[in-house]
């Protein structure tokens, strides 16, 4: 583009003024072939040293021997055997590890279903029913702001509402709906799922809204003109076109719940098991190789879930 008009606008650099070495070097640095490599280097180094290497260390250490005082390099399957101890002999009953995974999977399924339905509904409302872009952005921001505040605070903020003497129980007692305070509201499976929905519906809204905002509204009118009912248009037009957002949101929610121990800990009153919790407890007893083995098993489980989900969508095209 610049070459054609050079004769009129861009003066050729006079030959008598030498391009200084610094300027040439700076030019090469900002636009030379090597530029992308040093530009991405800080990011790549952070991930190499604080993500890839730690994962590799975890895998290696999971094969080590250990006692109360030290770890010894080795390549043994003892820790994995410990993770799965009794899993074969107790069949058809479930060993502790399988029970924990089953419980975690239950939370995943519930959190996924609820955040998906709620997130989809909210995104649909924002994308198709709010006409002014300014209002749309304002409402979107209203949904996003809690994401930037503390998760732990958002969890404990349920205590005054759901506790034995909480607001919900006071209302239920006052109206005579129940004879005595309901105890399953807090520190229970219920409160854990509630907290997941509270914390992570945002992970569904953003990608689904992003997919929906690209849908041409004329498509919906065409569907309507062709005789589709509102539900048919929703199911056959909006849902398929929102699929990338749904898949991305689902990956986020499912993986975050699979590895969770803070939410299950705080909202479950430290009484409910999860894989993350098992790992954390083993770490607190300095059983690093055993915790590492558990982490590797969890990682494999998470990767299998992601592999299954990414088959459905190319993440990079969606941004």
């Amino acid at each position: 583009m610049s070459g054609g008009r050079a004769g009129t606008a861009v003066l050729p650099r006079p030959a008598s003024v030498p391009v200084t070495a610094v300027a040439a070097w700076r030019r090469r640095l900002t636009s030379g072939a090597a530029a992308p490599y040093w530009q991405v280097a800080p990011l790549a180094l952070v991930f190499a040293f604080f993500f890839v290497l730690p994962l590799a260390v975890t895998v290696v250490v999971s094969g080590w021997r250990y006692n109360e005082y030290s770890m010894t390099p080795a390549v043994v399957g003892d820790n994995y055997a410990a993770v799965f101890s009794g899993c074969l002999s107790e069949l058809p009953g479930l060993c502790l590890t399988f029970k924990t995974y089953l419980s975690t999977l239950k939370f995943c399924a519930l959190a996924w279903l609820l955040t998906l339905v709620l997130g989809f509904t909210v995104a649909y409302f924002l994308a198709f029913h709010v006409r002014s872009v300014t209002v749309q952005m304002a409402l979107f921001l209203v949904c996003t702001i809690p994401f930037w505040t503390s998760n732990v605070i958002r969890m404990i903020s349920w205590v005054p509402l759901l506790g034995r003497n909480g607001l919900v129980n006071s209302v239920l007692l006052a109206t005579g709906a129940v004879p005595q305070p309901v105890t399953w509201l807090l520190f229970s499976d219920f409160s854990v799922v509630l907290a997941f929905v509270h914390l992570y519906t945002m992970f569904m809204i953003v990608p689904i809204f992003n997919s929906m905002s690209r849908i041409d509204h004329a498509l919906l009118e065409a569907a309507r003109d062709a005789g589709a009912s509102g539900w048919q248009a929703l199911w056959n037009v909006v849902v398929p076109l929102s699929r990338p957002g749904i898949v991305i949101g689902s990956i986020f929610v499912v993986t975050v719940v699979m590895g969770d121990y803070v939410t299950i800990g705080v909202m479950g009153g430290q009484q409910i098991a999860s894989i993350g919790k098992v790992i954390q407890v083993q770490l607190s007893y300095l059983q690093f190789p055993l915790a590492a083995a558990n982490a590797v098993v969890l990682l494999v489980a998470v990767l299998m879930v992601i592999a299954a989900m990414t088959r459905l969508v190319d993440v990079r095209k969606e941004l």
Partner: protein, 293 residues
């Protein structure tokens, strides 16, 4: 259908309204309860209104040094914010030009977002333990008596802790940069180049003003995600180096009075102040941009 709203509008608006109530209701509750009177407890009713629990909080909470953790979290958040903006911006440029291995780096970043935090935290924790052992061993071999006696650990807020936070904030920063550059019109840069601007001038006077609001957004993510991070820091900090969210998680099981709500109110206020400042800054930048055209 009075004003031509599509069917289902009012039902959906009601769902949205309830969702917002669900999001903010509990948060408002603990802010209200943090002003509980001195004789009040963790639940309603309010026994008068006072700043009693804030005063108690100000004096520290006895066992843990809460204000040390507060300061640590604040400093770490600011550093993470700065690094996240700079590193993400540079990486955004690199991805735009393209380079060999771009796919690997991109999927590593996405993986860092998705791999459970407890695993990353464990990995960093063990890695720094091994690093400490290696440093001790080397120091002994080299006969550095001073080092072997005083050295305890290389893990800390601004080594392992900083790294752990960056693995959490950088993926968000990178994804935002992708979104920014996917929508960026390269003809602005071409025009600048045609007028004889150097690459640096093009960046400084054309690209930077256009993407500044997004960079503020990245900074917002960087600070708030770090300020509230618990799971990834849990194993990756040195001893007695806990950040505020970690202390807070610990306090949920021990504190049985509104002090914890007061602390919640204080941390939420910091978050909201940062969010508010960021949004104002974005608006100012947008305004200035609009005026410049």
């Amino acid at each position: 259908m009075r004003d031509g709203r599509p069917p289902g509008f009012y039902a959906l608006a009601a769902v949205f309204g309830l969702f917002v109530l669900f999001l903010y209701g509990p948060m408002v509750t603990i802010i209200v309860l943090s002003f509980q009177g001195p004789t009040g407890g963790l639940t309603f009713p309010l026994h008068g209104v006072s700043t009693h629990w804030f005063v108690r909080l100000w004096d520290g909470l006895g066992v843990v040094d809460i204000w040390a953790a507060f300061g640590r979290s604040l400093r770490l958040g600011v550093v993470v914010m700065g690094l996240t903006v700079v590193i993400s911006l540079l990486a955004g440029y690199a991805f735009r030009r393209g380079f060999r291995g771009a796919g690997v780096v991109f999927y590593t970043a996405v993986a860092s977002l998705i791999v459970p935090s407890i695993i990353v935290s464990l990995g960093i924790g063990v890695q720094f333990r091994l690093l400490d052992a290696a440093i001790q061993w080397t120091a002994e071999r080299l006969g550095l008596a001073g080092l072997t006696e005083t050295f305890t650990t290389s893990a800390g807020t601004f080594t392992s802790g900083l790294g752990a936070h960056l693995t959490w904030t950088l993926p968000f920063g990178l994804l935002i940069m992708f979104a920014v550059f996917n929508r960026f019109d390269p003809s602005y840069e071409e025009a600048a180049r045609d007028l004889g601007a150097t690459p640096w001038q093009t960046f400084r006077h054309v690209v930077l003003p256009l993407i500044a609001p997004s960079l503020v957004g990245i900074g917002l993510f960087g600070f708030t995600l770090s300020w509230d991070e618990a799971a990834r820091s849990s194993q990756a900090l040195g001893s007695d180096q806990n950040t505020l969210p970690l202390e807070l998680t610990g306090l949920t099981t021990t504190v049985t009075n509104p002090e914890i709500y007061a602390l919640g109110t204080v941390t939420t206020t910091v978050s909201l102040a940062v969010i508010g400042a960021s949004l104002l800054l974005v608006r100012t930048l947008r305004r200035r941009q609009a005026r410049g055209r």
